[in-house]
């Protein structure tokens, strides 16, 4: 295990993975800073570029990019009161209040230092989780792995939109994703399913054009709706002034930062909870750290602890959410569901193989998170004043550049115009989902897991017939799926009774 840990480090430190990581970090910087473009969308946009890469290079690129998005997202939240990322919204409360009081540098220093600490805690949690979950995962057969896919969809469907209505839409999205995954030649009987006599559809719906369409098109339309500049006017004076004071704040409240990092890691492990939940829970915990009612009043008006908590949790959740993604193929968030797509594009299957045969690759992800965050935080401190100016870019300039990447990225998946048609169709579906309040994460999970879930179901039925349903772990996982579905409903029923 220790050998694999160091092998993972050496893999990342080769020049090619390092170069791809650097490229990913640069992209992540931009994406985090610009409120108009989400981290998950950019992950989807970058998937076409990983085909020719080795797994370590691809994960250095994708994770390097994703790991820093939340860090730079805090910069926009603090300076402009506009979250660079959905997961950076809680930082606004105290971070922007500090900026208005002339303490922007201190708030940024605190956000960056706590982000780094959080990322290290999350990566450490991922590293120590591997030996713990490995024996468990290795006992799983096809029936258990099929049930795990169902549990994953149940988790993400029930939690990505609360309430019975939200849950219904979550399951509809997940089911639709699973059904879309059945398009193409059936691996067992060789039947061409839902291909409408077109050769293009024989190989199934390609992940890249679908994901690019469903994520990028709605965001492009939103940029077009908003027009104007992405963020707003820059605060006067040198932004970096006082940043070191913020770093000292992180160490003054060291244990609070660690506790909030652990909250973020825990939320990350729970599938479907997402970064938005992590930051608010960490913020809630930070407010509880106030010793008196008077001290608590300072939160929301510029208390540095209100910056440290969300900053740490935002970054620690990445390591946490990688745990179920790698070990069970159950992603903790939309971004992780897209990353799961990346696994399949590279020919890797999450689960036992990632903890045995590809263990060094898994550990390389841990190191990528740590290195990417260290580099980002250092670069942020060096170029803080210049970075802030990026947010004054107009949407009208961004749109054609993004759209070019969308169409080229989609087309290069199979060098076929059908890829672009697929992107446009699923772009329309994604837009309707966003407008209609249907969560997109369950759809992605269904589409990504569909093929392997079908394979596991087929093997389970062919080998055990109906008896696979009575295997103990299958029953436990089935009960877990039912509990995941029922718990939010019971909780919602109780609420009015207690009110």
């Amino acid at each position: 295990m220790i050998e694999a840990l160091f092998e993972g480090l050496f893999l990342v430190l080769q020049w090619k993975p390092l170069a791809f990581m650097a490229l990913g970090i640069v992209l992540g910087f931009w994406v985090g800073l610009l409120p108009g473009l989400g981290g998950a969308t950019t992950l989807a946009l970058m998937l076409p570029f990983i085909y020719a890469m080795q797994p370590v290079e691809a994960f250095a690129f994708l994770l390097g990019m994703h790991a820093v998005v939340a860090t730079t997202g805090d910069i926009t939240s603090i300076l402009f009161g506009v979250p660079g990322e959905a997961a950076s919204a809680a930082t606004i409360l105290d971070g922007h209040a500090m900026a208005k009081k002339g303490e922007a540098g201190r708030a940024l220093g605190a956000a960056l230092a706590s982000s780094l600490l959080g990322a290290i805690v999350g990566a450490f949690a991922l590293a120590i989780a591997i030996p713990i979950v490995r024996p468990l995962v290795l006992t799983f057969g096809s029936p258990e792995l099929f049930m795990l896919a169902i549990v994953g969809i149940a988790f993400i469907a029930s939690l990505s939109a609360p309430g019975p209505r939200g849950m219904l839409r979550g399951f509809l999205a997940g089911g639709f994703g699973l059904l879309c995954a059945t398009v193409g030649q059936d691996p067992q009987a060789g039947i061409a399913r839902y291909t409408f006599d077109t050769l293009y559809l024989w190989q199934g719906l390609d992940l890249v054009p679908v994901l690019v369409g469903i994520f990028a098109i709605p965001e492009i339309i939103d940029l077009a709706i908003r027009r104007g500049s992405i963020a707003g006017a820059l605060p006067a004076g040198r932004i970096s002034k006082g940043a070191f004071e913020g770093v000292k704040d992180t160490f003054r409240h060291f244990w609070l930062t660690i506790r909030c990092s652990l909250i973020g890691t825990f939320i990350g492990i729970m599938p479907g909870m997402g970064g938005a939940v992590a930051q608010w829970m960490a913020y809630g915990h930070a407010t509880q750290s106030a010793r008196s009612a008077e001290e608590r009043k300072g939160f929301g008006a510029g208390d540095v602890r209100g910056v440290l908590g969300p900053g740490a949790a935002n970054n620690s959740k990445e390591g946490g959410s990688l745990i179920p993604t790698i070990a069970f193929g159950v992603p903790g968030s939309t971004a992780m569901a897209i990353l799961l797509g990346g696994f399949f594009l590279l020919g890797l299957v999450p689960g036992p193989d990632m903890l045995t045969k590809h263990l060094p690759v898994t550990f390389s992800m841990v190191w990528t998170i740590v290195i990417a965050n260290v580099v980002t935080v250092l670069a942020c401190f060096l170029f803080l004043n210049q970075l802030a100016r990026v947010t004054t870019v107009r949407g009208t300039v961004l749109i054609p550049a993004i759209l070019m990447l969308v169409f080229i990225g989609s087309y290069t998946s199979n060098n076929h115009y059908g890829d672009i048609v697929l992107t446009l169709i699923f772009g329309g579906v994604g837009y309707l989902m966003v407008i209609g309040g249907w969560p997109r994460a369950p759809f992605v999970l269904g589409l990504v897991l569909g093929k392997i879930a079908e394979n596991y179901l087929y093997i389970s039925v062919a080998r055990y017939e109906a008896a696979w349903l009575t295997r103990p772990v299958v029953l436990i996982l089935f009960a877990l799926a039912v509990a995941v579905i029922l718990y939010p409903l019971v909780q919602q029923r109780r609420k009015p009774a207690h009110a």
Binding site: R165, R193, Y194, I220, V397, L424, Y431, V434, W438, Y458
Partner: protein, 158 residues
């Protein structure tokens, strides 16, 4: 807008899953097992969602996902969305007719100049940089085959 979009999606999923189940019914069980296991409950659930909307439920699910900006009046949001959709489809049409190497700079320049009302200098420089990125990375470095546009093929110009 919210209700109409949800109804359109529910009816769409109903149609897709209904067709999926009917088509799968005639396949060997190996090929039909998964589409039927997924398609039948999906049809029932989408019918439930469609009914929920049609019966006038005003309940709006709060989704943990990206949201379209709602600051503007609804007609203006629809107008701008339609305009964005038209530009996207226009870019696709340009790719089909002219091919990527011509459609990319043409679209970027027109979008900046006509839609964005940017200045001549910015429009030309940005277009040149974007085209250089496209040509350098995809054509020269990655050697990706981009077909000629239909218009150029028909006219026999290239």
């Amino acid at each position: 807008m919210h209700k109409k979009a949800s109804l359109a999606l529910a009816l769409g999923v109903m149609a897709v899953s209904g067709y999926g189940v009917v088509a799968a019914w005639f396949w060997p069980w190996k090929a039909a097992l998964f589409p039927l296991v997924i398609g039948i409950p999906l049809f029932v659930l989408s019918a439930a969602e469609a009914l929920w909307v049609l019966l006038g439920s005003t309940e709006r699910a709060t989704v943990q996902d990206f949201q379209i900006s709602q600051e503007l009046p609804e007609p203006e949001i629809l107008r701008r969305s339609a305009l964005a959709g038209a530009w996207i489809l226009g870019f696709f049409a340009a790719i089909l007719l002219l091919g990527f190497p011509l459609a990319v700079p043409l679209f970027i320049f027109l979008y900046l100049k006509v839609h964005g009302r940017e200045g001549w200098v910015l429009s030309i420089v940005f277009t040149a940089v974007a085209w250089a990125f496209f040509y350098g990375l995809f054509d020269q470095l990655l050697h990706l085959p981009f077909p000629q546009g239909w218009l150029l093929e028909w006219s026999g110009l290239f």
